[in-house]
Amino acid sequence: MNEKKSKINIFKGSTDYVASSELACAVNVAIALEKPLLIKGEPGTGKTMLARSIAKALGKELIIWNIKSTTKAQDGLYVYDTVQRLYDSQFGEGDVKDIAKYIKHGKLGEAFTSERQVVLLIDEIDKADLEFPNDLLWELDQMEFYIPETKETVSAAHRPIVVITSNAEKELPDAFLRRCVFHYIEFPGEDKMAEIVRVHYPDIEPRVLSFAMEKFYGIRAMKDIRKRPSTSELLDWLRALVLSGVDLHAAREGVKPDAGIPFLGVLLKKNEDVDALTEYRAKGYTTVN
């Protein structure tokens, strides 16, 4: 049983990524069942980083397929460069009979044809058209696709570990969801966050950390904030604080409304949010003091 387990529970996070036990469990289930792992969560909770961490922890190559609003499922499989072939035939260049020459694999094709097992990250799948995930059902299920032009089936020699991230912008189709292992990354609580920060900045002064955490969670707790700062913003902000050596005592005691939080722009990206914060402070609310 234990031997079996050691083979199964292989992912526990990596040196630069703190994975909760729930997340590690989801990853291991996905790997063991050879199903795509669908990760959802607030922006900045490390969804994309997870794939890097898995690749690193398991010593595998990472292939990233970034999805944009114009991305089509076909782009990930292969592209058949018809125009080039037509031109070549026109001017008698190259061997136009060899169709394979004009077939270029996309990221999915690359992952399938790789000689070793890879980690394939399909990043922000919700950016694409609503039907996009449905177009990939067969390919992700069977890990193979057919190229009619060359009458060739590309099938994965080693089923890649597929990680799919979504910002929850769009509802994904049921048929697609049914084939995935699903995990929702919750926004980390203060303890977990402190752990995450220490992974990135092992030598951070406890004073700086507690100051930053207090402000950070204070801002997140404000109802009027449109775009709540996330982990990545906290990390950037901490870097700014540490590098600049801001006098935290002065910051804490700051009298001007905007004196309280140095480098506020790193945390809040919207003008409305900065205004909201200023207003809070002007009214003397305690949330962010």
Partner: protein, 396 residues
């Protein structure tokens, strides 16, 4: 294998499919649950629940199935051995029955011990207290037991489920702008007749032109397909709609921000539509257009969404001169106008901010019912909007 649990979850409205259930069985056989109920809980959630909106429902169902929130215990090793041996009866729930007996026993003992105990107790293996090996209290190490207050160090599954941390994600909650936008993205109908740059290679056209050109390659491009949906949104403004202003303004923002429609137009009305449609939400005299004019200018290909509580005095809908704005008596009852609009724009829906369950007995129940018989009416929730959008896309 405890197939009852599958039906139990489905009874709670979780659409768990057989495939997903098989995956779960497979995962358990591989020993992925780590022989603990907590592990089992997470694996179930990973494999059977695919939306954070459903997490709460799952938590409730899980806690109910595994003997309620109070009982917190890991399943014993033999349970997993039993799971691993497929030859045993798949529908056996005896073990669960026995476990639940144990829980009951445990709870009885807890109550008894509570009566016996009269002092604070830390450590040890009998009294309710902190630490130690007793089955009762918190921060303990006993395999099974009842947690009495305090923080659970070894977060047991049923407790986690009982905390219902995902309550906020429930689908029936009132929605924010982004979710509205998401729902509106479904409202699409692709057509290549929309004006845009010709960027896609037209194979047929290329073949035709090339052969016309005696075989000299002539590439023809065509316009990519774009959303052809045009949308007209009519908002009920002022009066009884004030309590819902935040909600409707979110809807407004979502529609105006959605840039994937071919065209969107907004007008406003007060309670019911009559001769005039207002151009801004303040419903001011003079800042209006003739409803007739709008119906002439805008073609029947527009989808129309009415947003209003549909709650008014029956006269406002049924009588001449029912318009409550003083000095604007209408020659024709509101109902005639609504039916006229419906004929002109067959694909229309009515979104009502009043909670759907209350329609039958809210103020204005008569007009709500009557208007709902003209336009398909949906609640102004994510779910209602979703169903409405599907209705708008239907061919009829």
């Amino acid at each position: 294998m405890f197939i009852n649990f599958l039906y139990f979850l489905r009874a709670y409205g979780l659409k768990v499919s057989v495939n997903e259930w098989m995956s779960l069985t497979c995962a358990l056989e591989k020993g992925l649950a780590d022989s603990s109920l907590t592990g089992f809980y997470h694996i179930c959630r990973n494999l059977l629940v695919k939306r954070e909106a459903d997490f709460d429902t799952f938590d409730v169902a899980f806690a109910a199935y595994f003997n309620g929130v109070l009982s917190a215990s890991d399943l014993p090793e033999e349970f997993w051995q039993w799971l691993d041996s497929p030859q045993c009866d798949v529908c056996d729930r005896d073990l669960f029955a026995r476990l639940s007996l144990e829980f009951d026993e445990l709870r009885r003992m807890f109550d008894e011990r509570k009566r016996e105990q009269n002092s604070r107790h830390d450590g040890g293996s009998y009294w309710i207290g902190t630490g130690g090996m007793s089955a009762f209290g918190n921060r303990g190490h006993s395999d099974s037991g009842i947690r009495a207050g305090g923080e659970g160090v070894y977060g047991r599954a049923v407790q986690i489920a009982g905390e219902r941390r995902f309550r906020d994600f429930r689908r029936d909650r009132v929605i924010d702008t982004r979710q509205f936008e998401t729902a509106f993205r479904r409202l699409r109908q692709f057509s290549s007749r929309v004006d845009s740059e010709r960027t896609e290679l037209d194979i047929d056209g290329t073949a035709r032109e090339t052969s016309k050109n005696a075989g000299l390659l002539t590439l023809v491009y065509e316009r990519p397909r774009r959303n052809a949906i045009k949308l007209l949104v009519l908002f009920d403004s002022d009066g009884s709609m004030l309590p819902y202003s935040k909600l409707t303004s979110r809807l407004f923002k979502a529609v105006s921000r959605s840039n994937h429609f071919k065209d969107t137009k907004f007008y406003y009305f007060h309670n019911c539509v009559y001769e005039k449609l207002y151009t801004d939400p303040h419903i001011r005299r003079g800042r209006w257009v003739d409803t007739e004019r709008v119906m002439k200018d805008i073609g029947p290909d527009y989808r129309v969404i009415y947003v209003g509580d549909a709650a008014m005095a029956p006269g406002e809908l049924e009588r001449k001169g029912g318009n409550t704005i003083i000095g604007l008596p209408n020659d024709e009852p509101g109902r005639i106008w609504l039916e006229r609009l419906k004929r002109r724009f067959p694909r229309s829906i009515w979104l009502n901010p009043i909670v759907e369950d209350d329609w039958a007995h809210a103020f204005g129940q008569y007009t709500i019912r009557e208007i709902a018989s003209i336009f398909p009416m949906y609640g102004l929730t994510l779910d209602g909007l979703g169903r409405g959008v599907r209705r708008l896309l239907a061919t009829r």
